[in-house]
Symmetry: C2
Amino acid sequence: MDSDYQSQARLFKAFSDETRLRVLEMLRGGEKCACKLLENLDCGQSGLSYHMKVLLESGIVTSRQEGKWTYYRICPEGAFAAVSLVKQLTTVTVDSDRCDCCEP
Amino acid sequence: MDSDYQSQARLFKAFSDETRLRVLEMLRGGEKCACKLLENLDCGQSGLSYHMKVLLESGIVTSRQEGKWTYYRICPEGAFAAVSLVKQLTTVTVDSDRCDCCEP
DNA sequence: TTGGTGTATCAAAAAATTTTTATGTGAGGT
DNA sequence: ACCTCACATAAAAATTTTTTGATACACCAA
């Protein structure tokens, strides 16, 4: 279906970092503003900004601006897409037989 | 449940590479030997070996040895674990309200 | 045993990601 | 307007991942 390996890889890269996993865990508890996330992370402000950009671009998180604050939350559509993709990537499409391509 | 961010990150890293995604796509069609995978990839033999190691260590692929050949296939348990983990990581646990931690 | 084939491993180089530091920008408040 | 705060962006440095090339190892056949 989706043959763009690069964009699929990008989605998983969003999940492939400890800091971003910590952020997701916090967001599971509901919307949070950047400053609140920062409090509970071991990274600098610009570091968080970088990580949030990765999460936003992957589609699993959305943000809204309010005054000078930015709030982040998990995006249900993006989350669903991620789950679907993992399922798709790991679903075997044949009755799994032994490969005998190299038998003598 | 699982609080080991590092090992979670490792699982997703397995999915975060174009070559490995191509391998998974091939394995969806059933077990394949290394040489068959290699034919359809743009990487060297040692490169494939490296990528397969990453996939094996993530648990989404298993291998079996037969003579001098190695056969790989998707591991249903590992695949299921991956799907579960994505679900867990993206499931919001509260009725999603606005965060007001920074309101004046 | 010897030689060839299929994979794995190691080390170095190359490439990509993450962190850090410095600076920029926009929203409010005074 | 000017200052400050919250966050973004840019560039450089640090770290991690991937690729490459050489070599090692296991298996098989002659």
